[in-house]
């Protein structure tokens, strides 16, 4: 269905992705985006911004009217209330005008003005947030931080810990991550040295903290859940089982860890031989606690679903091949 015409994806392709490949239901935003991309005239957008850079009469005024709703919506999403959003709106507009429209200059018409301005707004507000943490009043910035990153943190947690039965675990994970970020006077957040985007830095850290939480907590959780199930079945005080894992559980856990370590070795070896696109597929697939549908990977990679299926087959073939050639596996084969 999706075609690449002269190397550039058509707007109909984008609409096709939004309607055919996204899960039905909560994809209203995606469909609206696809519709707006379809109706966009990128050359016209480029001329529009160019007239502002050339300081043509009324050009800035026309641009403000065009992007006002985009900037406002972004500010409302990332700030707490109308008053704060109003201040943020003014700051963003000022940032767009600053230094002879420095932030508008890179725009080359490869996207809609609205997409570009929305992401510039996000960057400007992230910089404001960063200034709060770099200053000595980091505690003042925490509320703003949660407003800015709350949705992203929850998205990452939901992805790594899916399932209705894990609602409590997700809440605990959120709290655990927040405590880690606040600890030692925001040491982790203040460690940002300007390499990469601040948003990427924070979310990567959140993901690592979440992985630590999962690795350290989930086996204990399972044991406690089992213990709780036994307690419910036998409520007498004398029969309350110990919280300590049984010898069988310990053995199973050790075996699981050995398996994972070997799988990691094989994965790293295989990843080194993959192409960059295949490696990206691997990273996306490992970013979720459940298998990601091919259409979702396709959306993230901006590639057709058919290509994602082929990618997956190639990656699996490489993993199997690496597994069969691995020294530990060869040793096992020799012993049989």
């Amino acid at each position: 269905m999706i075609e690449i015409v002269s190397g550039v994806m058509t707007q109909q392709d984008a609409f096709g992705r939004a309607t055919d490949k996204a899960p039905m239901g909560a994809r209203l935003g995606l469909i609206k985006r696809a519709i707006s991309i379809m109706g966009a005239d990128l050359a016209q957008d480029r001329d529009f911004v160019r007239s502002v850079l050339e300081a043509k009469p009324q050009a800035w005024e026309r641009l403000v009217r065009r992007i006002a709703d985009t900037v406002w919506t972004a500010c409302r999403l990332l700030c707490g209330d109308d008053a704060e959003a109003g201040t943020a709106f003014s700051d963003v507009m000022e940032a767009l005008r600053a230094d002879g429209f420095r932030r508008l200059r890179p725009y080359n018409g490869s996207s809609r003005i609205e997409t570009f301005v929305a992401l510039v707004t996000r960057d400007v507000l992230a910089e404001r947030l960063l200034q709060l943490f770099q200053a000595h009043s980091a505690s003042d910035g925490w509320t703003a931080f949660e407003r800015f990153f709350g949705a992203d943190i929850n998205r990452i947690i939901n992805r790594r810990l899916p399932g209705a039965d894990r609602a409590d675990l997700r809440q605990d994970a959120y709290q655990d991550i927040c405590v880690a970020l606040i600890a030692d006077d925001y040491r982790r957040l203040k460690a940002y040295r300007g390499i990469g985007s601040f948003t990427g830095f924070v979310l990567h850290m959140v993901d690592r903290l979440l992985i630590d939480f999962i690795r350290s907590t989930m086996p204990l959780r399972q044991q406690r859940a089992e213990a709780a199930a036994i307690t419910t079945a036998a409520p007498e005080w004398g029969d309350i089982p110990s919280d300590q894992p049984s010898p069988e559980d310990t053995l199973l856990e050790r075996e699981d860890d050995r398996l994972l370590s070997l799988a990691s070795e094989v994965l790293r070896e295989a990843a080194a031989a993959l192409s960059e696109t295949e490696r990206l597929y691997l990273h996306i697939a490992l970013g979720s606690g459940e298998p990601i549908p091919a259409r979702e990977v396709a959306r993230q990679m901006q590639r057709p679903v058919e290509e994602v299926y082929k990618l997956k087959q190639r990656v699996m073939a490489r993993l199997r091949d690496t597994l069969d050639r691995h020294p530990a596996v060869k040793m096992w084969k020799a012993s049989v």
Binding site: A68, W72, T73, L77, R122, G196, R215, G289, R320
Partner: protein, 238 residues
Amino acid sequence: MTPGTLHALFERLFGGTDDAAKDSAHARQTAHLAADLDHGESDTLDVVQLAAYLDGGLDEAKQNDLHARLSQSPAALHDLASADAFLEAMAAAREAAPAGLVASTIAISRPAATSPSSPRRSFPIWKWSGVVLAMAVAAIMAVLIINRQTVPTDSTAPITAKAVPNPAMAPDVPKFAQPQAPKGTDHAPTMAGKKEAPANMAPAASEEPMLLPSPRREKPSIAPESFDTVPGSQPPYR
């Protein structure tokens, strides 16, 4: 442990089996493997690239280039996912900006666009001409004062060795008028350290008789004009 176990693990991890979603260990295993594959590298995707990628405006080559960067940097991959989710949320929750806010934004930018208030323009030209005139007068007066100055010779001052100024080394140092020897006499300049009796001056200890004022009032005479104002005359000092 068998190779079959590992094969099954990979099949499960990458969605080869339907029961993977129900596997409670799946989240832990993917988390473990993702952490081991993460080299912690950071890369920056600029807004133009991000916007173009998410709007489908990159050609095949640029898209491959971006994929390469995303595969190397988990932070960049998170940034992209966040931007994508943000744009989706914006499209779903789009609302109109308050008219007053838009009007005030435009109003604030108008004066700056029509009459920029740079400090250069705000200082009128006639004021600048006044400043230049004042500086010129001050310079002329300074030259006149310097030319009238003579260096007094203090015979009672202690004799100390001083560095001889080198005019070639400091060409910008203002030159004061120096006493000149009368024409025809070979009077070499004295060096520091060699004390000589100053010419045309009485010793400090000598006593000179004070002239008494004349009891008869005479007609006041006009003092002759100074040498530097009479054309053709030779001043004693240059």
